[in-house]
C-alpha cells in the first residue's frame, strides 16, 4: 500500500498562466482527499500531474515514498476515472475493464476472476457483452469505476466523475462511491467543483483557488472554521453573508447596529464579518446582536425561505443580509428583526482575507 505525496508542485505554461503554483499535499492510505475549487483553480491540472498526463515545471510526485515524477502514466500503477467516462467505444464492457490487465500480461485466468469480481461489486454482470454506446450514463459510469477498481492501483484519481449524471442519479452514485472507496485501502484523490460531493465523500478537503491551496482540512472544519474569505464564500450554499464593515472602537457598524469585534491589539478601521444564512435567526427577546431591516426578496427553497434583508441605517452603502428561515416560521410585514449569534460569526481581515480568530472566543470576550 502506498502513500501519495506531492511536494512543491508547480506547473507554468507561460509566465502569466500558472495553473498550479506551489502545492504540497499528502494523502495517506485509505484517505479520501477532495480537491475543491471553482473552474480554473488548477484542481484538474493537479490531478493530471499526479497521473503523469502532464509534466510538472517544478516539484515532485511520490507514490509510496518512490519518486514517480518522470515515470510514464502507465507505469505509476494509478487508476483514473474521467468526467467523460472515456470508455473505449469499440470494445465490450468486459474488454474495457480488462484492457489494463491485459497490457500488464496478467494471466488470463486471473483477469477473468478480477473482472468478474469488479463487475459483481458494481452490478455489471449482465452488461459484459454490451458496447458503451448501448448503455446509459449511469451504467457507463459504473464501467469506468470498474475499470479503475480492477487494476488494484496504488492510487485512485477521480476527475469530476459525477458531473455528467443527472441530479437523482448523482446522489445515488455518490453514496455508492463513498461505500466503494471506503473499502479500498489506498489514497483516493477526487476532483470536484461541487461542495456537496466534497463534504459528503471526503476525509480531507483541499480548497483551491488560483493554483494555491487555501485550506486543507477535514470537511467539518472547512465548513465551520473557514481559513479565509475565499473558503468561507466558496463553501456553503446559500453563500455565507460576507460584509465589509467600518469599525468604531471595539464594535463593527452594521448599519445602525453595533456588533462587538474580537479583542485585537490595534482595533482596525474596517473588518469583514461573515455569517452563514442558516445561522441568522428571527430575533427573540433575549437575543443580543439584533439588527432591523426591510425584506426585499423572499425565495422559497422548499425546506426554507431564503430572505434578503436590507439593513436599516445602511442607506449610503447598502448592506444586505440573507437569512435562511425554516418554512414553518412566520414573520409579519416587511420590517424584520434578525439575530446574529456571536458564536456563528466569522471575522476576517480586510486586507489579507484571513480569518482573525475563532468566533467562539469572541463571544467569550463580550
Amino acid at each position: 500500500m502506498a502513500k501519495l505525496e506531492i511536494k512543491n508542485l508547480n506547473k507554468t505554461y507561460t509566465p502569466k498562466v500558472i495553473p498550479v503554483k506551489n502545492v504540497n499535499l499528502t494523502v495517506e492510505d485509505g484517505e479520501f482527499l477532495t480537491l475543491l475549487g471553482p473552474s480554473g483553480c488548477g484542481k484538474s491540472t493537479i490531478l493530471r500531474l499526479i497521473a503523469g498526463l502532464e509534466e510538472p515545471t517544478r516539484g515532485q510526485v511520490l507514490i509510496g515514498e518512490k519518486d514517480v515524477t518522470g515515470v510514464r502514466p502507465g507505469d505509476r500503477n494509478i487508476a483514473m476515472v474521467f468526467q467523460s467516462y472515456a470508455l473505449y467505444p469499440h470494445l465490450t464492457v468486459y474488454d474495457n475493464i480488462a484492457s489494463g490487465l491485459k497490457l500488464k500480461k496478467t494471466p488470463s485466468q486471473e483477469i477473468k476472476q478480477r473482472v468478474a469480481e469488479a463487475a459483481s461489486v458494481l452490478g455489471l454482470e449482465d452488461l459484459m457483452n454490451r458496447k458503451p454506446g448501448q448503455m446509459s450514463g449511469g451504467q457507463r459510469q459504473r464501467v469506468a469505476l470498474a475499470r479503475a477498481l480492477v487494476r488494484r492501483p496504488d492510487v485512485f484519481l477521480l476527475d469530476e466523475p459525477l458531473s455528467n449524471l443527472d441530479a437523482l442519479l448523482r446522489e445515488k452514485v455518490r453514496a455508492e462511491i463513498k461505500q466503494l472507496f471506503a473499502e479500498q485501502k489506498v489514497p483516493v484523490v477526487y476532483v470536484t467543483h461541487d461542495q456537496t460531493e466534497a463534504m459528503t465523500l471526503s476525509s480531507k478537503v483541499a480548497v483551491l483557488n488560483k493554483g494555491d491551496v487555501q485550506q486543507l482540512d477535514a470537511p467539518e472544519r472547512i465548513y465551520n472554521n473557514p481559513a479565509n474569505v475565499f473558503v468561507a464564500g466558496f463553501v456553503g450554499s446559500p453563500q455565507m453573508n460576507l460584509l465589509t464593515l467600518l469599525c468604531q472602537g471595539r464594535y463593527a457598524m452594521l448599519g445602525d447596529f453595533r456588533i462587538p469585534i474580537p479583542d485585537m491589539q490595534t482595533p482596525p478601521n474596517s473588518i469583514v464579518l461573515g455569517i452563514r444564512p442558516e445561522n441568522v435567526t428571527l430575533a427573540e427577546s433575549e437575543d443580543r446582536n439584533t439588527i432591523k431591516g426591510r425584506i426585499f426578496l423572499v425565495e422559497n427553497l422548499g425546506m426554507h425561505y431564503l430572505i434578503s434583508v436590507r439593513v436599516a441605517g445602511s442607506e449610503k452603502e447598502e448592506i444586505i443580509v440573507r437569512a435562511l428561515v425554516p418554512i414553518h416560521q412566520k414573520w409579519s410585514g416587511e420590517e424584520i428583526t434578525l439575530a446574529l449569534p456571536n458564536e456563528s460569526i466569522h471575522w476576517f481581515d480586510v486586507q489579507t482575507g484571513d480569518a482573525i480568530v475563532k468566533s467562539s472566543i469572541a463571544s467569550q470576550l463580550v
Binding site: 483514473m80 473505449y88 458503451p132 448501448q134
Partner: protein, 289 residues
C-alpha cells in the same frame, strides 16, 4: 375537424408543387450523371449490328455476352484486372499505413514545426501531378523500374498521401482527448494506443480516404500508360484505351463498352459494400453521447 380539412388542401397544393419540381430536378440530375454509364452498359450487351444500326437502337432487344467473352478470350483481361487491383490495393494500404501515424503525429503530439509541415503537405496537393511526369520518367529509367509494379505503387502512394494525412488528421483531432489519457493511464504506449484504440475508432475515416485513394489509383492513366509497356503489366484503363478492332478502320465499340463496365464494376461494388460498413457514430458512447 371540418375546419381543419378545409384549411389543409391549400397547403398540400403548395407542398406538392415544390415536391414535383424537386422530383423533376432529381431525375434530370440522375439522367445527366447516369445516362453515359447506362449507355455503356447497354452497348456492352448489344450485338454488333445494333451498335452500328441507323437509326440508333437505344434499348436493344437482342442481348449478347460476346464482347465480354472476347475480352477474356483474345486478351489477358484477367491479368489486367489483377494488375489494377494489386497496384491500387497496395498503394491504398501503403498510403493509410504511412498516412495514419503521420496524421496522428500532426494532430496530437505537439511537435515543433507542425504548422510548416502541414502547410507543405497542403501545398503538395495543389501541385499538378502531371508536372511530375517527366521527372518521374527519368527516375524510373535510372532505377530500372519500368514494367515493375513499384513504378506505379510508389507514385500513387505519394500522390494520395497528402489527402490521407489531411483527412485523418482532422478526424483524429475530433476524437475525445480523455480517451487517449485513459489509454495512457491504462498503460498503452503511443504506438499501441494508435493501433488498438484510435484506429478502430477511425474506421469510417480510414474507409473514406482508402476508397478515394483506391479510386484515384484504379483510374490513373498517364503513369500507367508510360511506365508499363509490356502487355502483361498493363492496367485496365490503359488496356481499355488500347483495344483495337480487327482492322484499323473498325472501332470495337462493343469490347470497349464491356471493358468500361468491367473497369467500373469493382469501384461500384467497393463503394456499395463499404457504405454499409461505415458504421455511423462509432464513437458514440465513448463520451457522454
Amino acid at each position: 375537424m371540418t375546419v381543419i380539412t378545409q384549411e389543409r388542401p391549400k397547403k398540400e397544393i403548395k407542398i406538392s408543387w415544390k415536391k414535383i419540381f424537386l422530383f423533376i430536378a432529381i431525375i434530370l440530375v440522375l439522367l445527366f450523371c447516369l445516362a453515359p454509364v447506362l449507355w455503356q452498359l447497354l452497348t456492352s450487351f448489344k450485338v454488333n449490328e445494333d451498335i452500328s444500326a441507323v437509326p440508333t437502337v437505344y434499348f436493344p432487344t437482342r442481348f449478347t455476352l460476346a464482347h465480354y467473352i472476347e475480352l477474356f478470350d483474345r486478351r489477358p483481361f484477367l491479368r489486367y484486372i489483377f494488375n489494377s487491383a494489386f497496384v491500387s490495393i497496395t498503394s491504398t494500404l501503403l498510403a493509410l499505413a504511412i498516412g495514419a501515424p503521420a496524421a496522428y503525429t500532426l494532430a496530437r503530439l505537439n511537435i515543433r514545426g507542425e504548422r510548416p509541415i502541414l502547410a507543405s503537405v497542403l501545398i503538395v496537393t495543389l501541385f499538378p501531378g502531371i508536372l511530375l511526369f517527366l521527372g518521374l520518367l527519368e527516375i524510373i529509367q535510372k532505377l530500372g523500374l519500368a514494367n515493375n509494379y513499384l513504378a506505379l505503387i510508389i507514385p500513387y502512394t505519394a500522390i494520395n498521401l497528402p489527402l490521407t494525412i489531411l483527412v485523418l488528421r482532422s478526424f483524429f483531432e475530433q476524437l475525445p482527448k480523455d480517451l487517449e489519457d485513459a489509454a495512457k493511464v491504462d498503460g498503452y504506449n503511443t504506438w499501441q494506443m494508435l493501433i488498438q484504440i484510435l484506429l478502430p475508432m477511425t474506421v469510417p475515416a480510414l474507409v473514406t480516404t482508402g476508397i478515394l485513394t483506391f479510386i484515384a489509383a484504379w483510374n490513373e492513366f498517364i503513369f500507367a500508360l508510360t511506365f508499363m509497356t509490356q502487355e502483361n503489366m498493363k492496367t485496365i484503363p490503359v488496356a481499355a484505351a488500347q483495344l483495337g478492332g480487327a482492322s484499323a478502320f473498325e472501332i470495337p465499340y462493343g469490347p470497349i463498352a464491356a471493358a468500361t463496365v468491367l473497369g467500373t464494376l469493382p469501384l461500384v461494388l467497393l463503394v456499395l459494400f463499404f457504405q454499409r460498413k461505415i458504421v455511423q457514430g462509432l464513437t458514440a458512447g465513448a463520451v457522454k453521447g
